[in-house]
Symmetry: C2
Subunit: 370 residues, 2 copies
């Protein structure tokens, strides 16, 4: 372990260059014993004058102290049998992973769910619902702990019965970015797994995000993009997934919504359009070795036929946009008392949500019309 | 012409069986001179006992009287050089087309735009906007005169500068179905073209619709489905277009909307996801022989950078769902006076629509975010 850490803490070496050295020399010890010229021959030019390695010993000590501090802290080097096999398939896989939580999750089948920080309310609901259903079906949900879709995906997975989630962060394992997600990060460390590629104390840097994204897609069998703008990090993650030979899924939306454009672009380029968690489970059925069926999805009941016709009429009148009580009264012709009692029942059944300012919105999909 | 009409008015023969007789015998006259046994040999079994043809002469007379009544009435037989070439490519093309309006439109490049009768407000706007832009770019917009998307597509094309539209109906040329579209049908007869496959006086029958749909897709270079439920006529039209080797385009939408499901299914099966009229013009550029660029699309201004930052902020706060003034005040923190004057300007610029009950909705696409 000490040799791994010394290599990681050698000035000028990041995870990708360390990976290249390991490819060239086989082990950290062999790499450390080789000189600058030999390093240059495997494509790692350094500013070193001589042949001496001068690791930042304070960094090595800090990592080791962190490792000792808590049973849930782990550092997983590439030669460890617990190293995630799908990640090991990548060119230049990360030489070491800093972990907080349950390392066994890394060997379970994972689905990456990523998307915009500026997601719409409906996008956040989709992320939570898909994550919950996929987690309940046995997939670990992997994402990046970012605001918006990422956080909704982590939360959806944590809320599912038996659900688990992995967060790959762009900082060292002891830092949380964004700071608004400190509590979420602690919940994930307790019930899931936090993964970092960087030593203790490392702060988020712009250059970290593409490397982080590559690990998110690299850990997973497939990547689902819920909402994403054009030229966004989520699109990069999806492109990396495709390059890694993994499946890419995208949820469509209104052609007027900027955060659906990225998803539409992906679909135009060959990503699979998905409407439900089942679409993903069916696609991954061969990998999962189980029939691709999500457990009943309470947020999208399909047994609409059994609904009271009056309730069905209210749902139809609502449409899928938020609507005020007054307009709904006009559209249905019901009395306030009748409509209110129907809305309460629909809300209890999870078919309708009460939004701010007394407005309502359908949460479920309608029955398909002929 | 009389021979054509006699064949069309022979009891038990519809357009498809007449087409088969023409394939077998070359001309209507030759078919009329052949006996029942010869007909059976080309796959047209009839209840005729002897070899005599007994056309409904009253029907022939009615067609001829209709033809004489108005300069804009035409009957176009399959051997007429004005018969639309793309339709002639189909197996069993319609033996004769009953026309009201300008027959020259049949030889122009056409785009079929079809969709649900139960369209959403946004779907109707999409149909009108796409039809307007494609018509302005030189494509004739072909549809089925049905309620919902079809009618919006015809209207969008008629409103475009230099735009033209073709309506293929499921009745005889002198009947309008649905009757709510009588005025629209007259506008199309005046400024475009009505097409029927059936003799004068024929009423709509369920069996007519698949034949009508086949002609809509068969006349066009490609078919755009704006909104459609699963198991809908629009999906049949799209499938026919694909079988005919034509392009199929579909507009995506919310995964919660039943009338987006059909579009999503089509995309999953290989239809092209389109976000703008330009996507279609680019795809058809080779056929059109013109650079695939729609003229400026007033409904979707893209020059958002030049907008007052305050206006931009209001648009961002609106999102894409209908919103009341009160909630918009809260989201923006503006005064009523300031917000109202901004909304008036945005409405004048076509960026925002005032809906019923004082609610507003964005009409334009937002700028893509990074």
């Amino acid at each position: 372990m000490q040799d791994w850490l010394r290599l990681l803490h050698t000035p000028g070496l990041g995870p990708r260059r360390v990976a290249r050295l390991l490819e060239g020399f086989g082990t950290p010890a062999a790499a450390l014993q080789s000189g600058a010229r030999a390093w240059a021959e495997v494509g790692v030019a350094t500013a070193r004058d001589g042949d001496e390695i001068s690791a930042r010993e304070a960094g090595v000590e800090a990592d080791l102290a962190w490792l000792e501090r808590d049973d849930r802290h782990h550092i997983l080097a590439r030669d460890d049998p617990a190293y995630p096999p799908l990640l090991a398939e990548l060119p230049d896989p990360p030489p070491a992973l800093y972990l907080i939580g349950d390392p066994a999750l890394l060997r379970r089948p994972q689905i990456a769910i990523v998307g915009s920080r500026d997601a719409t309310a409906q996008g956040l609901r989709h992320a939570e619902r898909f994550a919950g259903a996929l987690a309940a079906a046995g997939l670990t949900v992997t994402s990046g702990l970012a605001l918006g879709i990422d956080a909704a995906a982590h939360r959806g997975a944590l809320a599912a019965p038996g659900g688990s989630t992995v967060a790959v962060v762009a900082t060292g394992p002891d830092r949380v970015y964004p700071s608004a997600h400190r509590r979420l990060a602690h919940r994930i460390a307790d019930q899931g797994l936090l993964v970092s590629l960087w030593p203790v104390g490392t702060l988020a840097r712009p250059g970290h995000f593409p490397q982080r994204n590559r690990v998110i897609s690299g850990l997973a069998l497939g990547t689902l993009v819920v909402e994403a703008a054009l030229r966004s990090g989520s699109l990069i993650t999806a492109r990396l997934a495709a390059e890694q030979g993994r499946s890419v899924y995208a949820i469509p939306g209104s052609i007027l919504s900027p955060v659906s454009r990225g998803c539409h672009r992906l679909i135009q380029q060959g990503a699979q359009l998905v409407e439900s968690p089942d679409d993903i489970l069916e696609d991954l059925a061969d990998w999962l070795g189980v029939p691709g069926q999500a457990p009943p999805d309470t947020a999208a009941p399909t047994d609409a036929a059994s609904l009271d016709p009056e309730h069905e009429r209210v749902l139809t009148a609502m449409g899928f946009d938020p609507i005020g009580l007054e307009e709904l009264l006009q559209r249905t012709g019901l009395t306030v008392a009748a409509l209110s009692s129907i809305l309460v029942l629909l809300e209890l059944n999870g078919r309708v949500a009460l939004l701010s300012h007394g407005r309502y919105q359908r949460l479920d999909a309608g029955p398909s019309k002929t």
